[in-house]
């Protein structure tokens, strides 16, 4: 089991308190929101895809524990500017590795919430958009 120092590393708390692109994206073409049914943590991701299939911009919003919110910030920062293909090949293992500290199975669900939301978001065009 990881110690508290590992679990709540400085750079994780930095992301929690000072997240990357937390908020609303007015130019969003795609969006998705989901909950962790075990604890009620929620993450919404809004992104703007351009014609070349590139993530031009991406924002997240949500409510939840340090792991779910800091991991969302890390993921959004990592994927900003990447292509949809790169995003699709970014696996759950990649996400856990990006987060860093080894997590117990129940806390892995916290960490993977935003990853699941982002994978669905690229398939979820907003109503007034054509993909």
């Amino acid at each position: 089991m990881p110690s508290e120092e590992e679990l709540y590393q400085e750079h994780i708390l930095d992301h929690y308190e000072d997240p990357f692109h937390r908020g609303h994206l007015t130019s969003a073409t795609h969006a998705h929101e989901d909950k962790n049914p075990l604890c009620g943590d929620v993450v919404r991701i809004e992104l703007e895809l351009n014609d070349e299939g590139k993530i031009k911009n991406v924002y997240f919003n949500g409510q939840g524990c340090v792991i779910s919110q800091a991991s969302a910030s890390m993921l959004i920062e990592e994927m900003y500017g990447k292509t949809v293909d790169e995003l699709k090949s970014f696996s759950a293992e990649d996400m856990l590795a990006l987060y860093g500290p080894r997590l117990t199975p129940n806390r892995q669900k916290c960490c993977l919430l935003s990853w699941k939301v982002l994978q669905s978001a690229v398939h979820s065009p907003l109503n007034d958009q054509k993909n």
Partner: protein, 433 residues
């Protein structure tokens, strides 16, 4: 202890600490080598040696299927299983032995009533009264029944301090009300509900009452005849017994009139290729091989609880709860869910506006060895009503001590310090805009 005024505990209200020696698991270490303080008893409890020995004793000496063989072991197992039924009968003071049905747990007990009684008796427009504080297991089965029958669900609202609004309940009771189904004790707020009053009023309005007693039978004396309750549901694992066994109590006349729920072996009198006749109570509602060993283990748990005394257990938990409540209520920014100690059973749930329940549960475990529950505790509608996504819950039982409460409080204060906003500025890897 930092920032918390000196508190005192009334040790005359507490049970002897020596009974902890009966529970082997309490000497386990968790987290970073901390001695376990198990404060997650509303989710499930631990077992004393007496229950563990009863379980292994069956497997080592007497186990076989019940009500089937005429060989020695089947006779022995059947006798032990039926003795367990008598233990439950005595515990809740049921008039008849066959009013005690063994199920797999509270959820199965409530579903049995919702499917069997509900489908046979509810018509479109009939009303079932539940409450906002119910566990999902006393909400979802009724939603499913309502979908099948067209019955309408009504919910008793809560007072600001987390008790049932009994004036509103009076207004909800009409001649359309067919059933009132509420918890005796809220698993999240800890509120002890006025079930005797609810039952009397419901009966006066011509409605039946089901009590979800999962959080009351393990902790308080319950007498189904004194209450005049129609259905009562509870679980073995929340009262020092094994998981996989629970009880549905129902009045004889009601159970007799209800169709069987699950079909299969044991629940029949005679089977032909195209029809069957059901068995008499209690077998009618015990299709298939029942939870034989868990029921026998539950009986050993009941013996243990009765040897300590449910009144004494309730007094012990009330004192620990008051002790915890007094300390938690002094912590700045902490919101205690539910009513003052005099209206609650042995648990306290709380929330912080800016620190998530997961952080509490994680740090309390890792650094303080304290096991608490973090999340919505299977009461999502209640959490939505309270305007929060999750909470942290500490729930007590007969083996907990004031020293464990002290560790809880110390841990809560540590989490508050750890996660206080520090004006962090992250080094940007990528532009923000």
């Amino acid at each position: 202890m930092t920032d918390i005024a000196t508190r005192s505990v009334d040790r005359t209200a507490l049970l002897p600490v020596a009974l902890r020696n009966d529970f082997p698991i309490l000497s386990e270490e968790v987290g970073d080598g901390q001695r376990l303080a198990f404060l997650d008893n509303a989710a499930s409890t631990q077992r004393p040696r007496q229950v563990i020995d009863a379980l292994s004793g069956v497997y080592e000496r007497t186990y076989a299927n019940v009500h089937r063989g005429i060989h020695t072991l089947s006779e022995l197992s059947t006798e032990q299983y039926e003795t367990a039924r008598r233990s439950v009968q005595r515990l809740i003071n049921a008039r008849h032995l066959h009013e005690v049905i063994f199920t797999s747990g509270t959820t199965a007990s409530i579903n049995t009533v919702a499917r069997s009684w509900g489908d046979a008796n509810l018509r479109a427009g009939d009303e079932v009264i539940l409450s906002v504080m119910e566990h999902h297991s006393n909400l979802v089965p009724w939603q499913q029944t309502a979908e099948r029958t067209g019955a309408v669900l009504r919910h008793i609202p809560l007072t600001d301090d987390g008790r049932l609004d009994m004036e509103a309940f009076d207004g909800l009771l009409t001649d359309r009300t067919k059933l009132v189904a509420v918890a005796a004790v809220s698993n999240t707020l800890g509120t002890i509900n006025p079930v005797a009053e609810i039952i009397a009023k419901a009966h006066a309005a011509g409605a039946l009452v089901l009590i979800d007693a999962a959080q009351s039978v393990p902790h308080l004396p319950v007498d189904v005849q004194a209450l005049d309750v129609d259905f009562l549901a509870f679980s073995g694992h929340k009262m020092l017994g094994p998981s996989g066994v629970g009880v549905l109590y129902g009045k004889e006349a009601l159970l007799d009139a209800m169709p069987p729920f699950l079909g299969g072996g044991s629940m029949i009198n005679e089977v032909k290729l195209s029809s069957f006749t059901p068995a008499a109570l209690p077998a009618k509602f015990e299709a298939g091989t029942p939870p034989i060993v868990p029921a026998i283990g539950m009986s050993a748990a009941i013996d243990y609880l009765q040897s300590v005394g449910l009144d004494a257990i309730h007094r012990h938990e009330s004192e620990l709860t008051r002790y915890a409540y007094d300390a938690l209520s002094q912590i700045e920014g902490l919101r205690i869910l539910g009513p003052a100690p005099e209206h609650r059973a042995g648990l306290v749930s709380f929330a912080f506006d800016r620190i998530h329940a997961h952080e509490f549960a994680q740090v309390l475990n890792d650094q303080f060895g304290v096991a608490v529950r973090a999340g919505h505790h299977c009461t999502q509608p209640l959490h939505a009503h309270l305007g929060i996504a999750a909470s942290t819950r500490a729930s007590f039982y007969l083996y907990n001590t004031p020293e464990e409460v002290d560790r809880l409080i110390e841990g809560v204060l540590a989490v508050q310090r750890m996660f206080a906003p520090q004006g962090r500025q992250r080094k940007r890897r990528k532009p923000d805009e």
